[in-house]
């Protein structure tokens, strides 16, 4: 037996001749071509953003563009735009699966192949993969890919964002790998299949043509580059850019000490069962240059649409490592090379048919959080605070008084929020989750289309996780509906704090969701609006809430959003959200008093909060005379000398009861490890760069003795019968 290594070449040590021999071109040419790929990915996305018809594409930018390398190089993901990492992580394996099933030899110039099956390409059915082969000299030299959220793919509810979809049949239309365009011409039967089975076909159809044009533009630009620099340089550059990312991650992993660390986070509920949450658990092991992440202990897959596939789990695990270890290297599939993810089959993060996979991003968010918690110990001051947790999605549909139907998806919830603080500063108040990078639609884009008015979108004092650097603040958001409608609400992270503090920082406060009502007769609201901190007339939807005031309180009762499958509301209904605060970094009692004063002036911290959470005594009236306030130095010194009150932050919510976890059994194999000599070999599947492998690894030092590609992985598709 000998060791099988995934080690990347030491690119810096290669002399020019060795470099050119390995990559078919010099460093300069490889850099030029790598940049060209990224720039092509960015351009096709700008074109789509500006020309699309679907609001979720053009207002929210819920799509990505990418360049994939040649089949013989293993379909590497070589270049991406500045989009959602959730789409990018599964692309390399997804495109390979799609093209191999469709048949590489059947591809013709001008084809556009599609697939949206989560079990083949990750994500959910709305995220259609559009794949254009790049033909050069009669051969497929790579692929231009757009992955874009389709407003609707059929299924039980408009838009698809219902948690209660129970299986693939309720989830939406699955398009197995097939052509949408052939030799530049539309494949009308495929288009008709989609349009006959989905809502809003009038929006989808022109978008298909535009996406086709954008991919064709990408191919033309790449073909010009290949023509200029040559095929050898092109293929070499694609290998180079992936190797460079792999090498960067390899070095970053080496910066961690050896050890084993666990972390967990929770998703509130599957929407049916109030009693049980879902656990995302990770065990991170690092030995020498090897790193393994085991998802054993993650709750079993849900009977609702709260599921992700293994490709999504891989994305989340690798992204978490990238966030803390190597944030700046451009994203490629080389990131995965030295990260073996051990994934038990049938967990919430690795669902198998016939599970409904829809809210995979919620699973990913909790998984990223579990990873960040596991890594907090070895990272020490490099650890980063947790973010706001859930996208809290809302979908609404109904009919206005004059009979016009209305529909709104993913724009009236509180989809964005606080980031955690880091060693370099306070956390942003308003961003996408780490896996998301979307545009927030403007109020003035939403309101002409939807009978709703966004009344508030403002940060709330004393919600940020206190720290030497504080986390981002929680957001209060309220919208009033002017027409009756059916509302689907999916808030999934109010049960426990998502914004974990690190390096001595405090957790961000948890939020919740509520319904209120105002009179909107004659389309006017008279008098004062319900203040965002008054809950007395509210009907709880989600969160741990105080029994009397209904305000967020970690020790309070958990309001279950799923107690109604659909929230049917009349005109005048007000939907209120409060997002979780981001985690603080460092001891709050060491924060610069002038920074606390500024926070009080700006309303991020109250005078009481400054004293309680930061040990800073601020005097004056920040509302009426914001520049008249000051730090009372003597009182501050006294407060800081005493230190934080024992109960200065609310006790965290108790660990919820969870759906039982699943584990992957590793098959023991007799023999000694050739690297360390231990009698600890075991065989099991892992997900790594390029897809699934069956590995034989030493459980003592994590060196691999065997590494065999296993295309199928553990998921059995029914359509394999065909």
């Amino acid at each position: 037996m000998s060791i099988v290594t995934t080690a990347s070449p030491d690119l810096r040590a290669l002399d020019e001749a060795a470099f050119a021999a390995r990559y078919g071109a010099d460093r300069f040419t490889c850099e030029v071509l790598a940049n060209r790929g990224r720039y092509v990915a960015e351009h096709i996305c700008t074109a789509l953003l500006h020309r699309a018809f679907s609001p979720i594409i053009t207002f929210s930018q819920d799509f990505v563009g990418a360049v994939i390398g040649a089949p013989e190089a293993g379909y590497p993901l070589t270049a991406v735009n500045k989009g959602n990492v959730i789409f990018l992580g599964s692309l390399a394996t997804g495109v390979r699966t799609t093209i191999e099933e469709f048949g590489l030899d059947r591809l013709a110039p001008g084809d556009l192949v599609i697939c949206n099956d989560p079990f083949r390409v990750g994500n959910h059915v709305n995220d259609m993969c559009f794949i254009r082969p790049v033909f050069h000299a009669g051969k497929v030299a790579g692929f231009v890919v757009i992955r874009a959220h389709q407003l609707d793919m059929g299924g039980t509810v408009p838009g698809g964002f219902s948690l209660l979809k129970a299986n693939v049949f309720e989830n939406g239309l699955v398009m197995s790998p097939q052509r949408l365009f052939h030799r530049g011409e539309p494949v009308r039967e495929a288009m008709r299949t989609i349009i006959d089975n989905t809502r809003f076909g009038d929006l989808l159809l022109p978008d298909f043509h535009t996406i086709h044009a954008c991919c064709a533009l990408g191919e033309r630009l790449l073909v010009e580059s290949i023509g200029r620099y040559g095929t050898a340089a092109w293929h070499g550059a694609m290998r180079y850019t992936v190797d460079a990312a792999a090498a960067a991650m390899q070095d970053a992993i080496a910066s961690l000490p050896d050890g084993t660390w666990t972390g967990e986070d929770f998703v509130d509920s599957d929407g049916r069962d109030a009693a049980r949450a879902y656990r995302l658990q990770v065990t991170v092991r690092k030995q020498g240059r090897h790193l393994e992440v085991d998802l054993g202990g993650c709750s079993a897959q849900s009977p609702t649409a709260l599921n992700a596939t293994a490709l999504d789990a891989q994305t989340a695990v690798a992204l978490a490592l990238k966030l803390v270890l190597d944030p700046h290297t451009p994203f490629t599939s080389g990131l995965y090379r030295d990260i073996d993810v051990v994934i038990p089959t049938g967990s919430i993060a690795s669902a198998v048919p016939d599970a409904a996979v829809m809210f995979y991003f919620e699973v990913q968010s909790a998984l990223v959080n579990a990873m960040l918690r596991a890594l907090a110990a070895p990272l020490g001051s490099r650890a980063i605070g947790g973010a706001y947790g859930s996208t809290n999605l809302h979908t609404g549909a109904g009919t206005t008084a004059d009979g016009t139907p209305w529909f709104s998806a993913a724009e009236l919830e509180a989809q964005y929020g606080a980031w955690g603080a880091t060693d370099s500063g306070d956390g942003n108040n308003h961003c996408g989750l780490a896996m998301l990078n979307m545009i927030m639609p403007a109020v003035e884009d939403i309101e002409p289309r939807v009978p709703a008015r966004i009344l508030d979108r403002e940060y709330v004092a004393d919600t940020a996780g206190p720290g030497r650097h504080r986390g981002g603040a929680g957001l209060a958001k309220q919208s009033v509906f002017l027409a009756p409608g059916d509302h689907y609400l999916v808030p999934l992270h109010f049960r426990t704090a998502s914004g974990s503090g690190v390096a001595g920082g405090g957790d961000g406060r948890t939020g919740g969701a509520w319904w209120l009502h105002v009179d909107t007769g004659s389309a006017r609201v008279e008098g004062a609006l319900p203040p965002v901190d008054d809950f007395t007339a509210a009907e709880p939807v989600a969160g741990h809430l105080d029994g009397d005031t209904l305000a967020p309180d970690a020790a309070g009762e958990f309001a279950f959003f799923g107690r109604l499958p659909v929230w049917q509301r009349e005109a005048g209904a007000v939907l209120r959200w409060r997002t979780n605060g981001g985690g603080g970094w460092g001891e709050a009692y060491t924060r610069d008093p002038q920074a606390v004063l500024r926070d009080v002036r700006d309303g991020y911290v109250s005078i009481a909060g400054a004293a309680r959470d930061y040990g800073v005594c601020v005097v004056g009236d920040p509302d009426e005379d914001p520049e008249g306030i000051a730090v009372d130095e003597t009182a501050t010194a006294r407060l800081r000398e005493v230190g934080p009150p024992r109960e200065h932050t609310p006790a965290p919510a108790a660990t919820p009861d969870c759906v039982a976890g699943v584990h992957l059994e590793r098959e023991s194999v007799t023999g000694a490890c050739p690297a360390c000599g231990a009698q600890a070999l075991a065989r099991y599947p892992v997900l790594s760069e390029g897809g699934w492998y069956r590995v034989l690894k030493c459980q003592a030092c994590l060196a691999a003795v065997e590494r065999v590609a296993d295309d199928a992985g553990p998921i059995a598709l029914k359509s394999r019968l065909v």
Binding site: F331, N428, N437, E444, P448
Partner: protein
């Protein structure tokens, strides 16, 4: 007479009797008006008919946040829009947990949160009132701002572009409570949908009133003392000239005026040469600004982005900036590869060869080591360059490459970065570069851009006269432009002809009211921005028919939309209804333009090099290159590459396998040698 105040240098350009005079002086950062007046006094402005002015003072104030204290009054519940923006991160921060939004409250806000105050009021998107304005509450908020002694107030309410009724009333309340301080409302400054860009634009407008208002007053007094009695204009973001009073009424228009002038200079100079399709590249110390002239006119955007996701809505020459210029720092990446920029050595300490404390190698150092720059003649001989410092800086890079490969790698990578920027805008405009010429200017432009020619495949590269001050010449190449626009979402159907007719007539009346003495000369041009129903982004600047708008004219607007959309995108969706979004009217009045005296045609002999210089570290080299003096070249001269052409403030590098021809206006036209 024109003055372009940059962050480092102030360029003064005068055209007298067809002759161009130029002065380049350091910008007086403490008081740029004083520097401008000193420059004007030196060159003499008393007899000038026109004074055109561009300044980066406003932009620099925003970028450095040395801003006046301006408050925002907005719809209650929405003050944090200035912390949120459009929410997204730039490409380099997609997976960076330490990234902070540059204008957010945790970084460097334009308006601190306590000066952003919500007012109880709310409009529906059609302008009807959802909640009446609570004047008592509004007054209380304004009084808080008074206690904070704000210098100006921006008012931007939701749907204020549809009906500014609440905004106007709030402005009256501000006047009553705070007196006559600068105050702008979004419904007048930028009546466009999209609360975030409109709010930013309104805030910036008030800030620019404060920054440029006082400056303009001081400059006006100084000009009067110098005896200037002509017309005074500011150049705006599209290098269109606005009379000073017009500019001061909406000063967000002039925030980014310097770079735009280069595109306009190119358009003007191109027209003199008979070239109407230009890729314009301005290589400065820190960056290269690339823009496009199509059919003789600069390509114009409807927004300019000052930082990532910080947009100002104003017409602006579309400029892509690449972090590659003469001062761009060369470094070694983790794989040993050579990288250039985006960091720059700036003017101080400057490139290593300045021997002024800079230790990092730059593009300028690479050009010195190659032999393109002459160590004794830099900046007209005002500075001697240190070859040893440049070489030491390259030697210190951590890479296995030898010196030659380092220098060559830096030069080639810098060129490749510039080429990517050029390609970026070429693709963005859907043009074929082979139909275009590359206009090369900026101090470092002629030194770098001709070598980019093979990478971008433009037909030819042209180095105009005065390449280092060419942008300022754009200020003497522009029209005086008056314009009005209005957003109104109208599905283009026969029934709305009357409404559109009324909008155009109203806009034309407003433009005529601005025209004053120019009314006789001005031609009013209509255009509109539109999209297909469902789309979020508009296709801008579609020509609209003249005369009364009737059903036939509306049909023509629809047809023109589909034709324009197909030409720009390649897709056509005739079945989808078209929605007009913004209606525009502009009137341009010609202003005296710079002329170029030209150089005589050579009648005898040929251009002779002063000497031969060795070019090292280049592919296929070393090369022997002839060194020419630009002042000695005559029209019709042909020079084979490799060669160097020197003039006091610039050096032109003619690569091997290229040839240079001198044109009648003294321009250097560089083309690839036809392949043998």
């Amino acid at each position: 007479m024109a003055v372009d105040v940059g962050g480092t240098f102030t360029d003064v350009v005068a055209v007298r009797d067809g002759r161009i005079e130029t002065v380049k002086v350091p910008t007086d950062l403490a008081d740029s008006a004083r520097g401008v007046l000193a420059g004007l006094a030196e060159i003499g402005i008393a007899d000038a008919a026109v004074f055109n002015h561009a300044s980066t003072a406003g932009l620099n104030a925003v970028l450095t946040r040395r801003l006046p204290k301006v408050a925002l009054l907005c719809t209650a519940g929405h003050r944090d829009i200035l912390d949120i923006g459009r929410n997204w991160r730039p490409a380099e921060a997609v997976s960076d947990p330490r990234w902070q939004r540059s204008f957010s409250d945790v970084a460097r806000p334009l308006v601190p949160r306590y000066l952003r105050r919500g007012v109880d009021e709310r409009l529906h998107p059609d302008g009807n009132v959802l909640r009446a304005l609570d004047e008592a509450q509004a007054r209380a908020q304004i009084r808080v701002l008074g206690r904070c002694r704000v210098e100006g107030v921006a008012i931007a309410l939701l749907h204020g572009y549809v009906d500014a009724v609440h905004e106007r009333r709030l402005r009256e309340l501000v006047r009553e409570e705070l007196g006559d301080i600068p105050c702008a409302i979004s419904g007048e400054v930028s009546p466009l949908a999209g609360e975030y860009p409109r709010t930013v634009t309104t805030v910036i407008d008030v800030m620019m009133r404060l920054i440029y208002g006082d400056y303009t007053a001081r400059l006006g007094r100084g000009l009067a003392e110098l005896g200037f009695g002509g017309r005074w204009h500011y150049a705006d973001c599209a290098a269109m000239l606005a009379p000073v009073e017009t500019a001061m009424a909406r000063p967000s228009r002039i925030i980014f005026s310097g770079p735009a002038a280069g595109t306009t200079a190119s358009a003007h100079f191109g027209a003199l040469l008979g070239e109407s399709r230009l890729i314009c590249a301005d290589v400065g110390g820190t960056s290269t600004d690339v823009s496009v002239v199509l059919e003789g006119r600069p390509v114009v955007d409807t927004q300019v982005e000052l930082e990532h996701d910080l947009p100002v809505s104003t017409l602006s020459n579309a400029i892509t900036s690449v972090g590659a210029g003469g001062g761009s720092i060369v470094s070694a990446g983790r794989a040993g590869e050579i990288r250039v920029g985006p960091e720059s050595a700036g003017a101080a300490p400057g490139p290593a060869c300045y021997d002024a404390g800079g230790t990092a190698p730059t593009m300028t150092d690479a050009c010195l080591l190659i032999g393109i720059l002459d160590a004794t003649r830099f900046m007209g001989g005002r500075r001697t360059l240190s070859y040893a410092r440049a070489e030491a800086a390259f030697a210190a890079l951590d890479t296995p490459l030898d010196l030659s490969r380092r220098v060559q790698g830096a030069f080639d990578t810098g060129l490749a970065n510039i080429a990517e920027g050029i390609l970026d805008i070429v693709i963005g405009n859907g043009i074929d570069p082979r139909d275009f010429v590359l206009m090369c200017y900026g101090a470092a432009g002629p030194m770098l851009l001709p070598a980019v020619l093979p990478l971008v495949q433009a037909r030819a590269a042209i180095v105009p006269p005065h390449p280092g001050l060419f942008s300022a010449l754009g200020l003497l190449s522009a029209d005086r432009v008056f314009m009005e626009s209005r957003s109104r979402y109208v599905q283009l159907e026969p029934a709305c002809a009357e409404m559109i007719d009324a909008i155009y007539r109203e806009l034309e009346a407003a433009v005529r009211a601005q025209l004053g003495d120019d009314i006789g000369e001005a031609v009013l041009l209509r255009s509109f921005d539109a999209r297909m129903v469902g789309q979020a982004y508009e296709t801008p600047f579609i020509d609209a028919p003249d005369g009364p708008i009737d059903a036939a004219a509306v049909a023509a607007m629809v047809a023109r939309f589909h034709d324009t959309y197909e030409r720009r995108t390649g897709n056509r969706f005739d079945a989808v209804p078209v929605q007009a979004v913004t209606f525009r009217v502009r009137a341009a009045v010609a202003v005296a333009r710079a002329t170029f005296a030209g150089v005589p045609v050579r009648t005898a002999g040929s251009a002779e090099p002063r000497r031969s210089v060795t070019l090292s570290h280049l592919a296929g080299g070393p090369w022997q290159a002839g060194e020419y003096e630009r002042a000695e070249l005559l029209a019709g001269d042909v020079i084979p590459g490799p060669a160097i052409v020197r003039e006091p403030l610039s050096t032109t590098y003619l690569p091997p396998a290229h040839r240079l021809t001198v044109g009648a206006l003294g321009e250097l036209v560089i083309t690839a040698e036809p392949r043998a």
